[in-house]
Structures are given as structure tokens and as C-alpha cells.
């Protein structure tokens, strides 16, 4: 008997650790993403179209028409942003839709555990030309379909979920050219994607099977290096790394790896390969240095920009100075690091959904009076929050944390054991002050909740 789908009961009370239950006004309830029921209404149409001997282009046209219909209705009914439901219906009508939409285009696929959305946005900027992209972060096939149907630009830069890379690659066989950017692999949504090593093996197989593609690979990550071993057309990128706890044992022989700054090696001989593009203080390539001054904060975004640089400059031959200038001008991507207003207070929103992401943000968040961390367990977040114990919250300089989200008690327990003062509440406004900007670290659906409830300042 499985309990996965059983509805959680609403919490009956809130607690402040060591004190009496908090009586904070419960002003909002977390909204779980709902399944697109609308799509089911179109099932009769789906079966008619699939069984009929329509020729492929006509079927594609019908599929795209149906998608626009569903997406429009979905937006009007307030069921969502209106990209996923329609995409799903269109894919049911025409399973080969993605390959038709990619035909003749110059395609860049961005995948990895962390940094996909930001790297996609930086790459779009770096290409300096009209680009079709699913930069809002809807990275399943349905989101890809919606993005491609809406924009017929020759170049497409697509964020792809790490477990969908092989499918999307198979769909790219009619494209003019394909570049695959492999950012990193770490544990994320353990209940769904189970084992990072098996993803690395899937990538490797998919890239070997695909017709010639160019890969831009962050080889500072041993699992990425493993995935591109033996491939011909690889631009290797080296970036400083601080997170390697997900790849401590060798992908080839499972012995322990030893790490330097962006380099690693194993007794079995598997060692980080020489890189073509490196990030130190500047980006180095081809004997020259290119200083970055990104508007986006954090060492992780400098690493993302280096990957985008390698794609735009090394693979697509764009001018390095123009590429750097375009990336420097990117200020905020899909709300990440944006300061927004909610209930008369200002909040800086940050997204982290796994240990590697938390590690990066712990270095980004400065010392402050308090911090909000908001953790949900929706389908898109993963139902197993045990990764909270692999995330180095101990590195935070803030000692008081407001715990929010459907797994706020898991979070509060984790942080209390680490010695933090924890405040468990749905209403963080009670603890913030006028004029203060409070940092918020939220996982996927919690971040979406914050975007919905807040406005730009």
C-alpha cells in the first residue's frame, strides 16, 4: 500500500520552539500545483486525431491549434501559467511534435541539476540575436513545445530537465546543429530521479547515440566528465567548485576521489581533463582573459556565465566582448535575487532546492538579523526532504530563521539541532521590521508562491 497520493491534513497549530503555540494569522495556504484536468476534456479529440490517418504536417498543425486553445483556456480559468497543459495535449496529438518544431533550427540544450534557468537566460543574452527559449523554467517536454511554437526564431536555447535530455536529443535529429550544455549533477528530488550516477550514465549513452552534437561540459564535476568521456566534440570548461559531496566516489571505480580547486583525480587514473575555457578571476580562453562583472550575484552565477561564454563564443563564434557585455546586463532571471514587496515589507527572493543550491546561497546571504527559509514538498519539490540534513546550513551567518512551507517542521527540526533559533510561522511579517530587506530562500513551489504573492518594488 502506498501513501504517496494521500492528501495531507491541514496543520492544526503552529509552534514556536520552546514556547506556547504561535497565534499568527494564517493568511495564506500553500497552493500545491494542480494537475491539468482541462487536458482530459480533450481526450476524445486526442483519440480521434491519433487514430485517423492524418499526414504528419497536418497532425502537427492540429496539435499546435489544440495547444493554443488549451493554453488560452487554462490562462483564462486561472489554472496556471498556461504552458504545460496545452503542451501535453499537443504532444498526445502529435508525439513527434518536438522534432518537427526543432527542424532546421540551431539548437542549444541546457541541462544539469542547478543553474539551468539562469544559464539559459545568460546564453540567450550571449547569443545577441532573437532566440526562442523556455526561460520561464517550464523545462518538461510540454514547456519546450509551448516555447518553440510561440517563437519561430532560427536559434533555440532550451532548458531541459536532466532526465529528459535523451528524449530531447532524439527529437533534435532534424535540427541544423545541436549544442548540449552540461552544467552539473547533484542530488535533487531523490524520490523522483533516484540516483545521480544513473543520470550520468543516461547522458553518456544519449550523447554517444545522438548524431554529432557539440557538448559544452563543466568537467570540474566528475559526473559530467564521466558523461562526456570518449566524445569527440567537447568544449571543456573548468570552474572553481565548492560542492562535490555528491560525487565523492569515482564514477568509474567507486573509489574515493581527491579534489583540488576545480580539479579532481582518482587512483584508477580517471582525472579531470584539461579545460579549453577556465574561470579564475576572469574567464580565460585561447590565451586571453575576459573580465566578468555580472549584475547577478554569486560565484555560481560566474560559473553559469562561463558555460554561456563557452557556448556563445567557442561554439557559436560570437564576439567575446559583446557576449560579456550582454551577460553583465542581465539583472534578474525569473525572480531569482529580485527584491519584491509583500504586505508592506521588502524581500529578496532566492531559489535553492538541494544541498548544492543551499551551499551556494549560504555564501551569498550576508549576516542579518533573520532569514526566511520556505520549504514545500510538492511534486516539483520532491516528497522527501531528508536532503535538508546534507545541506550545510551551519555555514549561515544569520542565527535566527523563520521556517515556512509545508515541511516547515522538518526544516525547523534540522535547524534547531544545528543550534539556530527557529520561528515556525506562516506569517513572517510579524517578525520583520519596516525598511528592512529580508532574505528568503525557497524551494521550487515555495518560490512560485512567493512570486505570486509579491509585487515588484
Amino acid at each position: 500500500m502506498r501513501l504517496l497520493d494521500r492528501k495531507r491534513r491541514p496543520h492544526t497549530r503552529e509552534v514556536r520552539t520552546g514556547e506556547s503555540p504561535l497565534k499568527g494569522a494564517s493568511s495564506f495556504e500553500k497552493s500545491q500545483p494542480r494537475p491539468p484536468r482541462l487536458a482530459f476534456l480533450l481526450l476524445p479529440l486526442v483519440s480521434v486525431v491519433r487514430m485517423s490517418p492524418l499526414i504528419a504536417p497536418l497532425r502537427t498543425a492540429v496539435a499546435l491549434g489544440a495547444m493554443r486553445l488549451v493554453n488560452g483556456a487554462s490562462r483564462r480559468l486561472g489554472q496556471g501559467a498556461g504552458t504545460v497543459a496545452g503542451g501535453r495535449v499537443a504532444l498526445l496529438l502529435q508525439p513527434r511534435l518536438v522534432s518537427h518544431l526543432l527542424k532546421g533550427r540551431s539548437v542549444v540544450l541546457v541541462t544539469g541539476t542547478n543553474g539551468k534557468t539562469t544559464t539559459t537566460a545568460l546564453t540567450v543574452a550571449a547569443m545577441g540575436q532573437p532566440v526562442a527559449s523556455n526561460v520561464t523554467g517550464s523545462n518538461m517536454l510540454a514547456g519546450v513545445v509551448a516555447a518553440l511554437a510561440a517563437d519561430r526564431s532560427h536559434t533555440a536555447v532550451l532548458e531541459v530537465d536532466e532526465s529528459y535530455l535523451s528524449l530531447t536529443l532524439a527529437d533534435s535529429h532534424l535540427a541544423e546543429s545541436v549544442t548540449v550544455m552540461l552544467l552539473n549533477l547533484s542530488r535533487d528530488q531523490l524520490d523522483r530521479v533516484t540516483e545521480v550516477r544513473s543520470i550520468a550514465a543516461l547522458w553518456s549513452r544519449a550523447l554517444h547515440d545522438a548524431r554529432p552534437v557539440t557538448v559544452v561540459a563543466n568537467v570540474s564535476d566528475p559526473l559530467v566528465a564521466y558523461a562526456v568521456a570518449g566524445l569527440d566534440r567537447v568544449v571543456k570548461v573548468r570552474v572553481p567548485t565548492t560542492w562535490n559531496s555528491d560525487a565523492l566516489s569515482c564514477p568509474l571505480c567507486t573509489q574515493a576521489l581527491s579534489f583540488g580547486d576545480g580539479d579532481w583525480s582518482c587512483h584508477c587514473g580517471f582525472t579531470s581533463p584539461d579545460a579549453n575555457v577556465r574561470l579564475g578571476r576572469d574567464i580565460s580562453w585561447n590565451g586571453s582573459n575576459f573580465p566578468l562583472s555580472l549584475s547577478l550575484p554569486g560565484a555560481f552565477n560566474a560559473a553559469n556565465a562561463t558555460m554561456a561564454f563557452a557556448t556563445a563564443v567557442v561554439v557559436h563564434a560570437h564576439d567575446p566582448a559583446e557576449v560579456i557585455a550582454a551577460m553583465n546586463a542581465v539583472t534578474s532571471v525569473a525572480g531569482r535575487f529580485e527584491i519584491r514587496e509583500w504586505r508592506g515589507r521588502r524581500w529578496r527572493l532566492m531559489l535553492a532546492k538541494n544541498p548544492a543550491g543551499i551551499e551556494a546561497l549560504c555564501r551569498e546571504v550576508g549576516p542579518s538579523r533573520l532569514l526566511v527559509i520556505d520549504m514545500n514538498d510538492g511534486i516539483a519539490d520532491g516528497r522527501d526532504p531528508s536532503w535538508l540534513y546534507d545541506a550545510p546550513f551551519e555555514n549561515l551567518s544569520t542565527r535566527t530563521v523563520i521556517c515556512m512551507g509545508s515541511r516547515r517542521l522538518d526544516l525547523a527540526t534540522r535547524l534547531q539541532y544545528a543550534g539556530f533559533e527557529v520561528l515556525v510561522t506562516k506569517n513572517p511579517v510579524d517578525f520583520t521590521r519596516d525598511g528592512e530587506v529580508t532574505d528568503v530562500i525557497a524551494n521550487y513551489t515555495a518560490f512560485a508562491d512567493w512570486m505570486n504573492r509579491s509585487q515588484p518594488c
Binding site: 567507486t254 573509489q255 527540526t413
Partner: protein, 227 residues
């Protein structure tokens, strides 16, 4: 001084299991019990400790960890000398007579528990609730094993989830507590953390109220295990 050893956290801690050490240390500290946590890395020899924590891991690391523990050879002796082992998921399977990895490859375990683990037809992924005496144990399981006991006691009866075989979960033997529940299991079940601590120090601990109690209650309610 209470010594807690985390066994090979570099290869056996896929699901936050190393957090069990944090829980033990914190709960010992509030009782005025000095403790130290030793992380025994893969390939190092096992230190002397009062409590050994063995977590979950992927197939390759699980086999490698089992090889190293067998070569080390000291875990069984430590249990005989009075140490306590908490083994979770892959760590639990390692303690048995054998376990199956990949496609039908049978691997010798450490033979400290009368348990044989085979591959089930599907992975068990989801919340797990187990009745252990008068207590409820909650956690999250994520494994493909079916564990069959040829003697000895399970840790408890499955209320919901799969555990060893859909009926019982884990094992309880002198010096060993084993379960399929991650979470980490001691974070979600403060009563179990205190039980293991009390056994190690040899006396009953004073109650300690913390947010973990609310978490345990909330999980039991959310999973329909409490009326």
C-alpha cells in the same frame, strides 16, 4: 565520553542519514552528556565507538562499503563488546547474510543478521510508518529490496508503506537496530534517538521537548497513523 561513529558517510549517506549523528549529539548535549562524532571515511578502519551509524547508498557504493567492512572485520566484535549499530536501508541490507544488486547479482553480506535481501519487482518509494511496541516510527523509504528474515525479530509491523516485505520493517537484535526508514530516521523519531542514547549510556534520560516532537506528531497525523 560518548562516541558516535558515522560509517563511510562519503559513500553511504544518500538520503541525509548522516543527520542521525547530528541528532544524537544534540540530544546528548541537552542532557549534559559529552559526545564526539567521528566520521569514518571510506577505506579507513573503524574507530572504537559506542554507537555506529550506517546509512543508505547506491548499488556500487553499497557493495564497496560491504567489502571494506568485511575486510575490516571489527563491527561484529564491537557489537559483542556492547556497542550499538543503527543501520538504514543499504546499511541494513549489508548486515544481512546476502543482498542482491543489479540484475540478479547476489552479494555476500556481513552475516550479522539472519536476513536475505532480494530485488523486488518494483521500487518502494514513499512514506513508511511502522508500529514499534507502543511507538510509531515514521520515515521515507526508497529502495528496491525485499528482505526476508529466517529468525530473529523485525523492528516492527508496517502500518503503511512496504518496509522489508509489506508486513514488517527492519530488524531488532542485541546491539542492532535496523530499518528501511530514512528521514533521517532519528530526526523524525526523537523517541528512537533517546532509546538508542539511553542504551549507550546505560540509564533513562530525562524528557526533552523540542520541535522534533511536533514534527513526529505532524508526520504521524499526515500519514493517517493517528486518529
Amino acid at each position: 565520553m560518548l562516541t558516535v561513529a558515522v560509517v563511510y558517510p562519503d559513500v553511504l549517506s544518500t538520503y541525509g542519514d548522516s543527520g542521525n549523528a547530528l541528532v544524537l549529539r544534540a540530544r546528548a548535549q541537552v542532557r549534559g552528556i559529552a559526545s564526539t562524532v567521528i566520521e569514518c571515511r571510506f577505506g579507513e578502519s573503524l574507530p572504537h565507538a559506542d554507537i555506529y551509524l550506517i546509512g543508505g547508498g547506491e548499488d556500487g557504493p553499497q557493495r564497496a562499503a560491504c567489502d571494506y567492512l568485511r575486510r575490516d572485520g571489527s563491527l561484529g566484535r564491537r557489537i559483542d563488546d556492547g556497542a550499538h549499530v543503527l543501520a538504514v536501508c543499504a546499511g541494513f541490507q549489508i548486515l544481512g547474510a546476502s543482498f542482491e544488486v543489479g540484475a540478479g547479482e547476489i552479494y555476500q553480506g556481513l552475516d550479522l543478521l539472519p536476513i536475505v535481501t532480494t530485488r523486488g519487482t518494483q521500487r518502494s518509494v514513499g512514506d513508511l510508518v511502522v508500529r514499534v511496541g507502543s511507538e510509531l516510527l515514521v520515515g521515507f523509504e526508497n529502495h528496491g529490496g525485499v528482505s526476508t528474515m529466517s529468525g530473529g525479530d523485525a523492528l516492527g509491523e508496517v502500518v503503511s508503506g512496504f518496509g522489508n516485505d509489506g508486513r514488517v520493517d527492519g530488524a531488532s537484535a542485541p546491539g542492532v537496530t535496523a530499518t528501511y526508514a530514512h528521514g533521517p530516521v532519528l530526526a523524525l523519531n526523537p523517541w528512537l534517538a533517546d532509546e538508542i542514547l539511553a542504551r549507550a549510556v546505560g540509564y533513562q534520560l530525562e524528557p526533552y521537548a523540542s520541535v522534533a516532537d511536533d514534527l513526529h506528531l505532524e508526520r504521524c497525523r499526515a500519514l493517517g497513523a493517528l486518529s
